[in-house]
């Protein structure tokens, strides 16, 4: 029965995604940014659904199993502070620039802002490299969920394959409109089912107060599990949202700047709705299912579902987890496909040798190839979903000073942007190889997250090198900073 519900849900998502194909206007702008026609509610749902992934559903409950309620402050409420602030100051401005100049990708903007092809190419490579671990989180989450909920009857490799297959089909058919519609459906599904799961499981545990009484008191406060410096510096992790290629694409779909108003206001509320059940169930689960070590804790939510809510409900809840996973994978996949088509195939003139049909085919093949690589990696990797995400977010967040400089600092130069990207690559690689084998790695074991240092170095490199190099030309500044006449 559980498997039947999951497959019915996957079929529903496929139908919604592919039905949107009937509204396709036959242009590249329609395929990649839905002709910039998306309204406030759908924008909120698709932005939020894209940001909520296996990281927030499975990873957060797994982390809360070890670290307690502090995980909500660490990632939940810090997102409620940072993400709408970025939408307000950065998202709206990038939407306006994108609309004015007809941009479809971040790389197009950065390349033209500093008039440098090489800068665009470097950024493309770095962004794709950072998206892969993020994709990996989703594929691994799908495999884990299905395997645990069916008691291993459906192996991990089938779950991962299913997630990849469904996403490829509706992204290829429906483009951004299909993605946005499927995301809206899936966000509503996982928000509703998250609440249903929570009440169903807590009810079976004998009520909230009984369940909390069985939990180690250390998990009900932050002091012994999270260090003050960790809380203070973790705030840089959600900054990554500002640099995600898929969020950039979603910003461009907005009908007008006003469309951003509701997403900005209601984003913090949506964060609370999803993260409260995730974190609390992780904490409560530690009282019932003991002995999960390291990444094993990422299955705590699914184990609770199997134990307390088998049958149809388990199917619904697994569908909710799938919803969260796929609503991110689809946008990431589409964004990468779009970047490859526009920033490589078209920009470097390969399109002159290909028909429109061939270009689309090449873009889709790139997406399928990238997902295939991710899928293979998911089979050989067994690291904590949460920690993988943190490394990916560290890279994206550290590139954010480039976007800030592009938008707000006229004196910034392409050499400053180069220096910033190079500093991120060097320091990220350094910290990654130092820390990836150490669970909860912080610099010198002080609690300071590596992202803080990489971000600061990236910002400093941008400022110092920009000031040491020739100021940008007037025509470029007029293009991006002149007040609209």
């Amino acid at each position: 029965m559980t498997v039947f519900v999951i497959f019915t849900y996957l079929a529903l998502v496929l139908i919604v995604g592919t039905v949107s194909h009937r509204f396709f206007r036959g242009t590249g702008e329609d395929y990649f940014v839905a002709s910039r026609t998306i309204g406030p509610f759908v924008l909120l749902m698709s932005l939020f659904g894209t940001n909520m992934t296996a990281f927030s559903i499975l990873g957060a409950s797994g982390e809360a199993y070890h670290k307690g309620i502090g995980v909500f402050a660490l990632m939940g409420s810090s997102s409620a502070l940072i993400i709408p602030t970025i939408f307000f100051f950065v998202g709206t401005r990038l939407w306006a620039i994108g609309k004015r100049h007809g941009y479809l990708t971040q790389v197009q903007y950065i390349r033209e802002r500093w008039n440098s092809d090489n800068l665009g190419l470097l950024l493309f490579v770095v962004l794709v490299a950072l998206v892969v671990p993020y994709l990996l989180i989703g594929v691994m989450g799908g495999g884990d969920t299905l395997a645990v909920i069916t008691d291993g009857q459906i192996p991990k490799w089938v779950g991962g394959l299913l997630v990849c297959g469904v996403v490829v089909v509706y992204v290829c058919f429906g483009g951004m409109r299909g993605t946005v519609w499927a995301n809206t459906l899936q966000t509503l599904v996982f928000m509703t089912l998250g609440a249903v799961t929570f009440f169903a499981i807590v009810g079976k545990m004998g009520g909230l107060s009984n369940a909390l009484a069985r939990v180690d008191q250390d998990l009900l406060m932050q002091a012994n599990r999270i260090r003050p410096l960790e809380l203070m510096t973790y705030i840089f992790i959600p900054v990554s949202v500002g640099m995600f290629p898929h969020i950039f694409m979603h910003w461009l779909t907005a009908k007008s700047a006003r469309t951003f108003r509701y997403p900005i206001i209601f984003y913090p509320v949506c964060v609370a709705v999803v993260w409260i059940p995730s974190v609390l169930l992780g904490v409560l689960g530690s009282g019932d299912i003991t002995g999960l070590e390291g990444p094993q804790a990422n299955t705590i939510l699914v184990q609770l579902i199997s134990r307390y809510a088998p049958g149809i409900l388990a199917g619904f809840l697994a569908a909710g987890v799938f919803a969260a996973i796929m609503s991110s994978l689809d946008s990431q996949t589409l964004a990468i496909g779009s970047m490859f088509t526009h920033d490589i195939v078209r920009h470097y003139g390969f399109h002159n040798q290909m028909s429109e049909k061939h270009q689309v085919l090449v873009g889709r093949l790139f997406v399928v190839g990238l997902l295939a690589v991710t899928y293979v990696l998911s089979l050989i990797s067994n690291r904590s979903i949460f920690k993988l995400a943190v490394w990916s977010f560290t890279g994206f967040a550290s590139l954010f000073p480039i976007l800030l400089a592009a938008l707000f600092w006229k004196r910034s130069t392409k050499y400053g942007a180069f220096a910033s990207i190079v500093s991120v690559v060097v320091l990220w690689t350094f910290f990654f190889f130092r820390g990836w084998q150490t669970p909860g790695y912080t610099i010198g074991d002080t609690g300071i997250m590596p992202v803080t240092v990489v971000f600061a170095a990236s910002a400093l490199a941008m400022v110092i090198v920009s000031l040491l190099t020739k100021p940008p030309e007037g025509n470029i500044l007029r293009k991006f900073f002149a007040a609209p006449s």
Partner: protein, 76 residues
């Protein structure tokens, strides 16, 4: 003039929210309030407060020049 003062007050409020996010005063307190650990209740309230602050930013500090830009592109 008045609007620009409100705008700056709201920007300062964002910085204040960053400081309020570090709830060290509940750091060692596992007590329950309305059935939930106090440290969690505080951060749920923090999310609600952020929604209110963002609503005020949208109302009083909206980058209205972007709306003009939109109208321009529509005219073209």
């Amino acid at each position: 003039m008045k609007n620009s003062r409100i705008r700056w007050i709201l920007y300062l409020a964002l910085i204040a929210m960053y400081l309020l996010h570090k709830d060290f005063w509940f750091w060692r307190n596992p007590a329950l309030v309305i059935g939930l650990p106090v440290g969690l209740v505080y951060h749920i309230a923090f999310c609600v407060a952020m929604a209110v602050l963002m609503a005020m930013l949208v109302k009083y500090a909206w980058p209205s020049q972007l709306e003009i830009e939109k109208d321009d592109s529509v005219d073209k």
